[in-house]
C-alpha cells in the first residue's frame, strides 16, 4: 500500500494520511496526475474508518494537493494551495517548532541540527532550483 498508517501512533490517522500524501508528492514518489486509491480502497486496505480517509482527502483537495474527479477518483494535482507566502511561512515555522524543541532537549548543538536540516532539505528538494511560487505551475 502506498501509505503506511500506524493505528497505535499518537498522531491521528487523519494527520498521518495528510502528511504522507504531501511528503510523497513533495519527494516525487507520487507524480502530478497519479491516481491515488479511492476512499473505499484505502479504508478497506488499511482497516481504517472511511470517514477519516474522506476527511483527509477533502482537506488535501482544499489545499490543492489532490484533485477529485467525479466518478474517476482522486489525483495528485499539487497546484498551488492558494495560501499566501506569509501563511505558508507561519505554517512551516510552527511545524518546525516541535523537532527543534526536541533537538534542544537532546542537547544537540546548533551546527548538528543544521547538518540534519540541510540533508533533509536536499533529500526532499533534490535538484529543484525553482523559485518560490514557481513550483507546479
Amino acid at each position: 500500500m502506498f501509505l503506511k498508517i500506524d493505528p497505535r501512533s499518537s498522531i491521528p490517522i487523519y494527520s498521518q494520511i495528510i502528511d504522507q500524501v504531501k511528503l510523497q508528492a513533495a519527494s516525487g514518489r507520487l507524480r502530478l496526475g497519479d491516481r491515488i486509491p479511492t476512499v473505499r480502497e484505502l479504508a478497506t486496505e488499511l482497516r481504517i474508518n472511511p470517514n477519516t480517509v474522506a476527511k483527509a482527502y477533502r482537506d488535501l483537495e482544499r489545499e490543492g494537493i489532490l484533485e477529485g474527479k467525479p466518478g474517476q477518483g482522486s489525483f495528485i494535482a499539487c497546484k498551488d494551495s492558494g495560501l499566501n507566502a506569509e501563511t505558508k511561512m507561519r505554517m512551516i515555522s510552527r511545524a518546525m517548532e516541535s523537532p527543534l524543541v526536541q533537538a534542544y532537549h537532546l542537547q544537540l548543538a546548533q551546527d548538528s541540527v543544521r547538518t540534519v536540516f540541510d540533508a533533509k532539505l536536499h533529500e526532499i528538494y533534490q535538484d529543484d532550483t525553482t523559485q518560490e511560487g514557481d513550483r507546479h505551475e
Binding site: I5, P7, S10, R47, N51
Partner: protein, 294 residues
C-alpha cells in the same frame, strides 16, 4: 454527528444480587463508530441486550433512535442490526430460506441488496445452516443484520472465534457500510487491534460501569508509557496527569500515564531522561483493567 442515536442514563441491572450493569451512562452519536471494550462479565452484552429489550433494566432510562425499548421494542429492532456472538439459527434451513424467513419482519429489507451481500460475504444461498462453518455463520448473521439497511449496527463479539479470512470479510463489509450509508456502529470486541483504526470513540467498561471513555484521537494523546532508566520516583508529576499503573523491571521503571501533555512533561523528560512511548489500545485496555483489579 452530534445528534445521539443511543442515550443510556443511570441504568442498573442485577442478576441474583450481582451487579451486571451499575448506573451506566452512555451516549452514542449518530454516524459514529464506537468500540465497546471490557473483559467478559463487564456488562457489554447486558447493556446491548437492554437496548433491544431482550433484557429489562432494573432502573434508569434507555433511548434508542429516540424510542424507549420497553414500549417500542419492535420498532427499534426493525431499525437496528444486531449480530450476536453465537447467532441462533434454525439448522435445517438453507441460507436462502432464512433470508426469506427473516425479510418480512423488516419493512426496509432490500432484496437486491441482500443478494449483493450474499456474494460480498462469499455465501452460497443453497447451503444448509447446519453445514455452515463458524465463519460462515458469522458472515450470515452479518448479512441478516445488514440487508434491511439499519441505522444502527450492533456487533457483539461477532468476530471472536472465527478464522482470519472470515474476520476480514466481516470487517471489510462493516467498513463498506460505514462508507456507503454512514451507519452508526457499536462494536463490542476483545480483538482490540481490529477496531483500533476504525473506531471514533472507545468505551472501557469494567464491572458494569464506564472506566474510561473518549475519542480515539484523544485517548492516543492522553495515554503514554513513560520509561525511566535511572531511579526516579514520579512524585511530582505534572498537573492533569495520573499514574494508571507502574512497575519496575530490572534497571528501569515504567508507568502508564493518563492525561499526558507534551508541553507539561518537557522539563521532567529532559531532567530525568525519560522515554515516552505511544501505546496501543490493547495496552491501554490492560492498564485500565489492572488498575481496577489492583
Amino acid at each position: 454527528m452530534n445528534e445521539s442515536i443511543v442515550k443510556i442514563t443511570n441504568v442498573a441491572k442485577q442478576f441474583g444480587g450481582i451487579r451486571a450493569v451499575d448506573h451506566l451512562n452512555l451516549t452514542v452519536s449518530r454516524g459514529s463508530v464506537v468500540a465497546l471494550l471490557g473483559p467478559n462479565g463487564a456488562g457489554k452484552t447486558t447493556t446491548i441486550r437492554m437496548m433491544l429489550d431482550l433484557l429489562r433494566p432494573d432502573s434508569g432510562t434507555i433511548e434508542v433512535i429516540g424510542m424507549n425499548p420497553r414500549t417500542h421494542a419492535k420498532a427499534i429492532r426493525q431499525r437496528c442490526g444486531y449480530v450476536p456472538e453465537r447467532p441462533r439459527m434454525i439448522p435445517w434451513m438453507t441460507i436462502r430460506k432464512i433470508m426469506d424467513f427473516t425479510a418480512p419482519f423488516y419493512p426496509t429489507w432490500d432484496p437486491a441488496y441482500s443478494s449483493a451481500l450474499l456474494s460480498r460475504l462469499k455465501l452460497n444461498e443453497n447451503q444448509k445452516i447446519r453445514n455452515l462453518s463458524r465463519g460462515e455463520e458469522a458472515r450470515l448473521a452479518l448479512l441478516l443484520g445488514l440487508a434491511f439497511k439499519p441505522e444502527l449496527l450492533i456487533l457483539d463479539d461477532a468476530t471472536s472465534g472465527i478464522d482470519p479470512a472470515a474476520r476480514r470479510d466481516i470487517l471489510e463489509n462493516v467498513i463498506q457500510v460505514i462508507h456507503e450509508a454512514g451507519t452508526t456502529i457499536i462494536f463490542a470486541t476483545h480483538l482490540l487491534h481490529e477496531i483500533e483504526g476504525l473506531a471514533d470513540e472507545a468505551v472501557f467498561l469494567i464491572d458494569g460501569t464506564i472506566k474510561y471513555a473518549g475519542r480515539m484521537d484523544d485517548i492516543k494523546q492522553s495515554f503514554k508509557r513513560v520509561i525511566a532508566w535511572s531511579d526516579v520516583s514520579l512524585t511530582d508529576i505534572p498537573p492533569g496527569a495520573t499514574v494508571v499503573t507502574g512497575k519496575k523491571t530490572g534497571p528501569h521503571t515504567e508507568w502508564m500515564i493518563k492525561g499526558f501533555r507534551n508541553e507539561a512533561w518537557q522539563k521532567l523528560m529532559s531532567e530525568h531522561h525519560l522515554e515516552i512511548q505511544d501505546v496501543s489500545l490493547e495496552e491501554i485496555y490492560l492498564a485500565c483493567h489492572d488498575e481496577s483489579a489492583g
